[in-house]
């Protein structure tokens, strides 16, 4: 792989945001997979999402992971972000809950209120 220059860094950043906004996905699901999340069953949640995605034949849903979301006692957690809308954090997930979220929020576009903790981004800096 080619070594990066500083200009490359900026380009990667732009491409990345460009990709998300335009050419990219309608929905992004982030499963929080730190040690705490995994211990609480995040892998099962991840598998459920994959299964649902396969069943749904949707091509515009991105699935990704990130680390601990901070609220370890409420793991497993996942964040669903639809294009043009702020992300919604779901807590204390089970596979059943995740299926419902997938159907109603990811596919249907309506957040599942009873499983959601919060909407929006955390304060950084």
């Amino acid at each position: 792989m080619a070594k990066l220059t500083i200009a490359d860094l900026k380009k990667i950043k732009e491409d990345y945001h460009q990709g998300l906004r335009e050419g990219g996905f309608r929905a992004k699901i982030t499963v929080h997979m730190g040690t705490c999340g995994i211990a609480a069953g995040a892998r099962g949640i991840m598998n459920t999402i994959m299964e649902e995605l396969a069943k749904s034949n949707l091509k515009d849903v991105a699935i990704t992971t990130s680390g601990c979301a901070g609220l370890c006692s409420q793991e497993p957690m996942a964040t669903v972000e639809l294009s043009g809308e702020p992300p919604v954090k779901y807590i204390s997930l089970t596979e059943e809950k995740m299926r419902k979220i997938f159907a109603e929020h990811v596919v249907g576009g309506k957040p599942v209120k009873e499983y959601a903790l919060v909407v929006g981004h955390e304060t950084t800096y």
């Binding site: 950043k13 992971t65 680390g67 919060v118």
Partner: protein
Amino acid sequence: MICAGTGCVANGSLKVKEALETELIRRNLQNEVKIVLTGCNGFCAKGPVIVVYPEDIFYQLVKPEDVPHLVEEHFVKGRPVQKFLYTPPAQKDAIPVMNEIPFFKHQVLRALRNRSLIDAEKIEEYIARDGYMAAAKALTEMTPEQIVSEVKKSGLRGRGGAGFLTGLKWELCARVSGEIKYILCNGDEGDPGAFMDRSVMEADPHSVLEGMIIAAKAINAHYGYIYVRAEYPLAVHRLQLAIEQAKERGLLGPDILGSGFALEIEIYQGAGAFVCGEETALMASIEGKRGMPRPKPPFPAVKGLWQRPSVLNNVETFANVPPIILHGADWFASLGTEKSKGTKVFALSGALNNIGLVEVPMGIPLKTVIYDIGGGIKNNRKFKAVQMGGPSGGCIPHSLIDTPVDYENINKTGAIMGSGGMVVMDETTCMPAMAKFFLEFTEDESCGKCVPCRIGNKTLLSILQRITNGEGREGDIELLLNLSQQIKDTSLCGLGQTSPNPVLTTIKYFRDEYEAHIKEKKCPARVCTPLIEFKVNEEKCKKCGQCFKNCPVGAITWEKGKVAYIDQEKCTKCKTCIKNCRFWAID
């Protein structure tokens, strides 16, 4: 705060900023309202986005021409402008927003800035959030002296516990001449109830690498080690991946970003000895020797790893460095107190409703952390104390709940800031037993090198054991105090110098509990089994029958409206009845 992420800039956020500045000056509000350009907010589709603090009001799709109206309404009249307010598309005011949830409301993420936003295994995602821009700046635009001075000016202090000024540490090492120097990262997080560093390494490994690159440039080191305990396999995996990705892309290796600066970083897995978190022991461990501390001086800045000048910083400290370089020392120092700048990550555990990882500005009242962020005590119990700083720290009782969380004020209580573990205890915690628990830990983890720590802690533990066994003697409290102070004064390394803190602080704040154990042979928290009679107190018993219903061995007899009775023959002293009695009626 105006989003200056690429998306919003493309949508004209900089123009909005200009308009806002003009309007504020026109209305002479420039000193009241501060404009901050932020990184991407994530709401790119609704950009330009403005968030107004402290109310945390979120405006979207703001155009320059809207600004005068917005300033007039919001800043002058104090009325949020409905037109630009963000409303969740599907349902109105259904799911609470961040600011409505105390857990999130009080947090400011700096070290954890990429929390839940990036995939730790994809370097692009880190780069997309300004990753490696600070390294780029440090490597190409700054001299080592400038880096040191910026970090010094920021007031960043070591997040591993002792709180030494990071910039000063770097400066000391930078001044030492030496062909080979080492930059070391301490990821040997070992305090019971602490998992801050693990989370950073797992969720944002590149932030650690970037911090190390900047530090390496500052001290002119070209080799680095990250010491991670082997019990953190995911952290090791993600760091390893991060190092490989960074190397492939020339962000580590011989010529970083074409700057000519070289840095190689390796991971060293520790075998899990607590004492290896002590810097000289950690270095001995990397050298392949027994992880045993040595006296300082010589300090690692002069003679560290393999007798070479070295700087060792904690994971969280490194994670804090890139934003300082990117946004400047003043920005960093804008949060925090006079001597404790920035934010601190804490791992909340114990009797709280919200267990987790939080990052708060220094100086935040302890109360806010426990009651707001932590969500208060589980099961409607009473807050008793919080253990800060793990086995090296001390407890802070309810009476000091207003203490601001910063290095100086926490030290005043007898506890220490430590690496960020907060173990919260409710009224069912016995303080002598808690002190015993931590002494068991330090006694086990002492390397055994110096006499006071090796035998002194064991002796403290024996005394605590007899107190909690109901065999405490007159004078034991004084003996504990005397021995504790001596161990602190005479031990070789930080472990022994702090290990009696749990004993000292519990005696300081809960001496009556010790006295109850020793003199009355009673454990007020009903924890120390040998001191519990397992008899129902007829005055306190509300005849609810919870003890009867929950007793697993049928040792309790009870009839509606009558005081329960425990059959001593059948009782196994499992304490289930005590846990289920809401009225402290079992003595």
